[in-house]
């Protein structure tokens, strides 16, 4: 019963701030609403028995990704572009289509039957890391995926630096470019 009350409160916060993202005018307000939504989703993860995932959600999503997004919004000064209309005519067709899609999927959910397994285990740090870094021959092998993700993040960082840098090259080549 208590879990249901917590869930209802957290889900109202999550959905309400998601609607705020949809309706807010300035991207900075949208980003702050998104942080609020992500923190309440982290609370729901903890409620469902995945506290490690909730902590990672707060650290990576609400911390790193949203910090990056807020930083870029402030650097680019999106307020300069407040003349852009929020919605256009395409939205008139998109919004009913998405609502109908959600209604169909929700209908399928309500018709199907699934419930929580009482034998499920709490996804604590110990059990998650034991599964993630199981290097045994017969293990699930998630550690390979983990290494691949490290390479992916490194290449994404390199690509971002290359894309966002104003002028590529060494100090000498920049000097010669300035001269010409």
């Amino acid at each position: 019963m208590l879990a249901l009350i917590y869930f209802i409160v957290l889900s109202i916060i999550a959905v309400g701030s998601a609607v705020c993202v949809l309706l807010s005018r300035h991207p900075l307000y949208g980003a702050l609403s998104l942080v609020c939504s992500m923190v309440s989703l982290a609370g729901i993860y903890g409620l469902l028995g995945s506290p490690f995932l909730g902590v990672v959600q707060i650290m990576v999503y609400a911390g790193a990704i949203m910090m990056l997004l807020t930083f870029v919004i402030m650097v680019l000064n999106g307020a300069r572009d407040s003349k852009t209309p929020m919605f256009d005519k395409v939205s008139l067709f998109v919004i009913p289509a998405v609502i109908v899609l959600a209604g169909l999927v929700g209908f399928a959910f309500v018709r199907s039957s699934f419930d929580f397994d009482v034998a499920t285990i709490r996804g604590s740090v110990a059990i998650t890391s034991k599964t993630l870094f199981d290097v045994a021959q017969t293990g699930p092998g998630y550690f390979v995926l983990f290494e691949v993700l490290g390479v992916l993040l490194l290449s994404a960082m390199g690509a971002a630096v290359l894309l966002a840098k104003k002028r590529l090259g060494s100090v000498d080549s920049e000097k010669t470019e300035d001269k010409h």
Binding site: M1, V15, L53, A64, D88, F109, K166
Partner: protein
């Protein structure tokens, strides 16, 4: 009255729908990125909710896959924002409709 597994899925569905609407119908490119993040979050929530309906050994997978999904979302946000900076420098606009120079 207890917390049912279907409530979690309905919540994930609602948040995914809102994220999809934000990503497709808003014109500011920052809101497009934020909508994608919201939809990814909803999919993670759905993963965790379904993992709790499985028995013990299988439910660990539902903890591990969202971790990878969060890491991929971090990489996506990194490259996406770099591209926004790059295009904004050329176009001086954050309206997604002006980013149409590949239309031919």
């Amino acid at each position: 009255m207890e917390l049912q597994a279907i409530y979690v899925q309905i919540l994930a569905l609602v948040i995914f729908a809102i994220g999809l609407i934000v990503a497709v119908s808003r014109r500011n490119v920052f809101f497009v990125l934020m909508g994608v993040e919201l939809a990814l979050n909803a999919v993670n929530l759905s993963f965790v909710g379904f993992a709790k309906t499985l028995p013990a050994d299988a439910s660990i997978v539902g903890q591990v896959v969202p971790l990878f999904s969060i890491a991929v979302a971090a990489a996506e946000a990194c490259v996406g924002l770099a591209m926004v900076i790059l295009i904004f420098r050329n176009r001086e606009s954050v309206d997604a409709d002006t980013y149409s120079n590949m239309k031919g």
